[in-house]
């Protein structure tokens, strides 16, 4: 689906969505194809749900979003990330 279709199907709801197809242009992320993963009752539940999905599938691209928003308007930031020393860890 595209965002306007998602909004029509799930009006005024908090959702967990997955970016099935997406691209970055000028530090903005555009989701061309969206899958709806979960419908959440409120903004507290949507963050717990996001954490669950992100933990279960760390390589996939999920978002929390409210369908009241006309545009998703996602901006991109870069971060190197934590590198753990797994070899040291294994020795303990």
């Amino acid at each position: 689906m595209i965002w306007s279709e998602v909004r029509q199907t799930y009006p005024n709801r908090w959702l967990i969505i997955e970016a099935v197809e997406a691209r970055t242009l000028d530090e903005r992320r555009f989701l061309d194809k969206i899958a709806v993963m979960e419908v959440c009752p409120d903004n507290a539940e949507v963050m717990s749900a996001y954490e669950r999905w992100h933990q279960a599938y760390p390589q996939r691209e999920f978002y929390f979003a409210h369908t009241g928003r006309e545009e998703l308007d996602i901006r991109e930031r870069r971060w190197l990330g934590i590198r753990r020393n797994d070899a040291t860890r294994a020795l303990r």
Binding site: W14, R29, N43, A44, V46, M47, S48, Y50, E51, H54, Q55, P58, Q59, R60, E61, F62, Y63, F64, A65, H66, G68, R69, L72, D73, I74, R75, E76, R77, R78, W79, L80, G81, I82, R83, R84, N85, T88, R89
Partner: protein, 130 residues
């Protein structure tokens, strides 16, 4: 403030204040490789930091995938007596498979004038409260 090393990574504890409510957060990584500061949604939800429909949403991309975050301006981030007021944080899932509640990035560390002392394992501050 004493730095704790877990898996060779430096952690501190700190206090966040939002709309008058304060929460203490135990496991926050000091990360000079991160431009911004991020906290796990589960540790800031108790003081009412939850996503709103109008929030700016970012995707933070790095090694190991992407993380969706919303941003929120909070009253104060404090490490012992050192407080930075009116500070913007990111809030996300932060499920990296190990125990971490937040990341203190360069935005906080520079504003607070942090001195990371790895010889004595301390985080000190070179200036008075901001």
């Amino acid at each position: 403030m004493r730095l704790a090393l877990y898996d060779d990574l430096p952690f501190v504890s700190l206090a966040l204040t939002y709309r008058g409510a304060t929460v203490t957060i135990a496991q926050v990584l000091i990360d000079t490789g991160s431009a911004s500061t991020i906290f796990a949604a589960r540790v800031v939800a108790p003081i009412g930091i939850l996503p709103e429909m109008t929030d700016d949403v970012y995707t933070v991309r790095g090694i190991g995938g992407t993380e969706a975050v919303f941003t929120r301006r909070i009253d104060c981030v404090a490490i012992e007596a050192q407080a930075v007021n009116n500070f913007e944080i990111e809030v996300g899932g932060m499920s990296y498979g190990f125990d971490i509640d937040g990341i203190l990035g360069m935005d906080f560390l520079t504003r607070a004038g942090a001195i990371i002392n790895l010889r004595d394992l301390r985080l000190d501050f070179g200036c008075s409260a901001l």
